[in-house]
Symmetry: C2
Subunit: 500 residues, 2 copies
Amino acid sequence: MKNKPNKLKYKQLGISTQKDNVVYLRQDSDVCISEGFEALTRVRVSTANTSIVADLNVVTSDILGLDEIGLSNKAADKLNLEDGDLLKVTHLEPIESLMHLRAKIYNQELDYEAYQSIITDIIKGEYSNIQVAAFVIACAGNRMSIHEISNLTKAMTCSGVQLKWNSEMVMDKHCIGGLPGNRTTPIVVSIVSAFGLTMPKTSSRAITSSAGTVDTMEVITNVSLSPEQIKNVVEKDGGCFVWGDAARLSPADDILIRVEKALDIDSEGQLIASVLSKKAAAGSTHVVIDMPVGETAKVRNMETARLLSSHIETVGQEIGLQMKVIITDGCQPVGNGIGPVLEAVDILKILRGEPEAAKDLKERAILIAGQLIELSGKVKLGEGSSIALEILDSGKAYQKFKAICLSQGRFTEPVLAKFSHEVYSEAEGTLIRIDNRKIAKLAKLSGAPEFNGAGILLNVHVGNTITKGQLLFTIYSGAEGELKYALGYLKKHTDILTIL
Amino acid sequence: MKNKPNKLKYKQLGISTQKDNVVYLRQDSDVCISEGFEALTRVRVSTANTSIVADLNVVTSDILGLDEIGLSNKAADKLNLEDGDLLKVTHLEPIESLMHLRAKIYNQELDYEAYQSIITDIIKGEYSNIQVAAFVIACAGNRMSIHEISNLTKAMTCSGVQLKWNSEMVMDKHCIGGLPGNRTTPIVVSIVSAFGLTMPKTSSRAITSSAGTVDTMEVITNVSLSPEQIKNVVEKDGGCFVWGDAARLSPADDILIRVEKALDIDSEGQLIASVLSKKAAAGSTHVVIDMPVGETAKVRNMETARLLSSHIETVGQEIGLQMKVIITDGCQPVGNGIGPVLEAVDILKILRGEPEAAKDLKERAILIAGQLIELSGKVKLGEGSSIALEILDSGKAYQKFKAICLSQGRFTEPVLAKFSHEVYSEAEGTLIRIDNRKIAKLAKLSGAPEFNGAGILLNVHVGNTITKGQLLFTIYSGAEGELKYALGYLKKHTDILTIL
């Protein structure tokens, strides 16, 4: 043998397994035989400098040579490999934190150190999917005390980057389980920064929805800024609207959330730890949470909402955040537009004080901005909303918005999609329900958020009296094909709007 | 395009992923683009006649052509594919039983139908590893009522093959968490069948231990029999010792147990359902469970043992089995030999009534056989053991044993391994402890059960007075290399035997 035993040459196979690390070895290779590996053992793959843990797939054909080793694309990226690089494969050492995971499965209460060791191992990639799933489920179904949720939140906060700001008071907001069109963030940031507070807002893209705050703000300005650029914008303008992903805040969350998605569950402890760890890691000190409640929203009834908001406030206090949860109406979309460009149009109309601006979105933004201003302690309780309204109506919020956009690199007016289809009522009566999930699905089928001009423009709201032939909404799309998909879905789902 | 969209040609890639089904598609294939698949979505792969669910891996190189599709080796076997066969790939329909899984995660009690639908979907391969793990953990940590354990047991029993016998009374035994060398089964079957009862015993190979009953019996006779052959043996001789795996009894168990292994947990509900569903599916009506208790056994203390045995008996009753659990001493290995051939030697010596036969193994076999005979109701309570002893001492059990072996195809005398190493005491005093796990590990390192002659022959038992230089045990091995591995382990672990 030319290589020392157990040194293998990397060969790019070009197999993408999403986030799972997979290593490919020949069944008849010296390593497989001498080390006694079997398919799907988890092994450690090391370069001279670094290593990852990967699932072993055994190759029984000649897509690999006897002295070669393959890796899934992302695993190869992590090790920064080129063809021919030498790698070592070894058995996995025992994972110490599994002891704590077992204790949790057997209903024991875990302390901070235990959660920290589990979260650290999960981020390092030591846990298999089975082990991550076991952790999520052992913590689901109200199996965590409030104190444990605080410990998990702290562990997740410390597990990644933690931002620091040159300000004692750092404001933040979050909406639990977004409602279509509920794009208050850009308006709130503009009002709160114009008031003089620091609000360096990091947001996310749509995960399963038709638009995230980042997708919407990208229509108007640049959102992918370096930490240095973000710092400059915030020092100059007091606020920003940027994409938070690059910051690697609370990185365990992405891994844990995959399990919840695969099962379509939302566990309370995980939800609270996810939201609050990201706020704490972003350096925030004062946080307002918007919790929409409605039968097609994430939180479906007032009882759940009251309990959840009380738990969020308790955990917030335990980890040192000034918190306020406000329960809002989640029975229908907010604003008129659903989709990045359409939502950007809504935001600009409100900031510019245009008469046809969406009243519900404006009121909600005022409420949240007002609560944040009150939370700062700089005004009397009860005065926040009127101060926020004054800042908005005076045009100061719009000036601040424009200033931040220009500091972030550009200010672009939104442009609607080319293709559209108007949907008219075939019934008459009162609009009693809009299904948030189905209208969001319709917007996605029309092409949002990938095609930013696509989406839905609503002309009606719950409670409106509807006449036969009245315009209900317009579907915008960048391509005729997608418009067809959306219309197909519309035909099959006649309960998106309920008129009685 | 020559093929209809979404029809792809199978190409063998030769990648073994153990039990996970994986499908490989080119990123730029028409199917990936038009169906919007992303890496690691789970999809359905269909031939004209059948289909499987598989994880999608996306290929970014030319190991596959644009109109080709690859599958992991076992997935291809399941679909019985040859190069060029046409396959269709479609999105996965929603899995209905996940609704019940979510209910269980949220601590609701599930009924029989719910467990049945979950187990059915798991066996069909509809669940991802994450979903299977979620089910196991949602049921672990005493989260199942006794009634739920009965429902799960029934669902698992009905999920695979169920054997039927021409006898109203079918005897069976099981040992919870085997103890090294505790090879009572062949002796018990011989005694019980010689008494005139039907005992068609299916056993398993070693999973993590140094020998299973099947590994041991294979030294002496054939154990891989067809259902037809088994039936003939049992009709002729009343009993058998065969490998149960081929029978596909309670097939969900293998899938669930992977999760428990990955986490090194043993959940009570799963353990009971696993054991009793296999007994019920094997057509057994009367079952004695041997439960060894000791600090290095699976069940570590009497409190756990009493609770577990009471739960096993209750579930047994609920599913219609006549049950008896006997708690036995699990503080040390049973018999002298550890390893297939060495255990076969122990068994033959007892059956032949040789004076140096292992007393502890003989007593334990008598106890279990006696309990089974009593459970049949054919003798008075308290008489079972003496009747069993009489059958053994009279040579009738040995005649029965030999007859069954010959009916199964051969009777071969065991042959010890060529290489051996004797280990002598360096201390003097009383032998107070033998670590079951470590002595089993030593036997495995010597080559058992793969090399059937390998293993450990113990010369001492707990309680013996040991003098300096006394022979403690002999390590047998088929190759000098493996003997070296075993000796290396021995040097590092001085607490396998504790002499004080």
